[in-house]
Symmetry: C2
Subunit: 144 residues, 2 copies
Amino acid sequence: MEDFGFILDPAFEATSVSVGKLPLCEVCLQADARWPWLVLIPQKLGLREIEDLNVVQRGQLIEEAVAAGAAVRAVGGVLGLPVEKLNLGALGNVTPQLHLHLVGRRAGDPAWPGPVWGVGAAQAYPVETLAQAVVAARSALNIC
Amino acid sequence: MEDFGFILDPAFEATSVSVGKLPLCEVCLQADARWPWLVLIPQKLGLREIEDLNVVQRGQLIEEAVAAGAAVRAVGGVLGLPVEKLNLGALGNVTPQLHLHLVGRRAGDPAWPGPVWGVGAAQAYPVETLAQAVVAARSALNIC
């Protein structure tokens, strides 16, 4: 995937940590220990909507989303928050650079059964847990 | 697409009207005139997560989602609510049958910039507008 000139919106750097890169997307771990939560950002300039990707890229996006779902389950294992339902969302109302959220949900979680976006304040990860979560996500995504 | 035995969850029938069928998904118009809003439901039994589809079906799903985005813009035209940003969501925390929301958003809409799910009470469509919206969505989706 050509990523020449791609720049990650600083909004992601403020709220997440980098996990690594897949062929299409950069993967970030949302810095909020209330949910196992990854964000996929396609590494191309000027994207706002999924329709801005071509058909091959869209197929790659949904495959990377499925892989990220498995990684979210792995992060849930680290957090002791087993995933009962995956939530996928591409909103972009606040940060317009195209990105896809994969969030692991469970009955009784702090926003259940509503969506997580905009709910309360993020809960920081303990440093050691954050490191373990990144390792677990990289392993699930086969990022070396 | 084989849909033998597929049954639409009654929850969709209570909150939306059928627009028609694409190769993979049944398409419904959410009966809430606050936003142009379509729901795609893959016509296969027992699906809960996107990972439950195979790779061919997943490619089809994202293409149908892109087509549904165009249809949401057409519905926005009928409603006089031009779409500035598409929101895509697959949550399923309340209704577990796999489904994908495509919602047309605009700055200042009743939930902006937060997500629409669970916000306030649905606003009924005027009967004539509902019929026009279904026609516009069918036309955008090439459903005859």
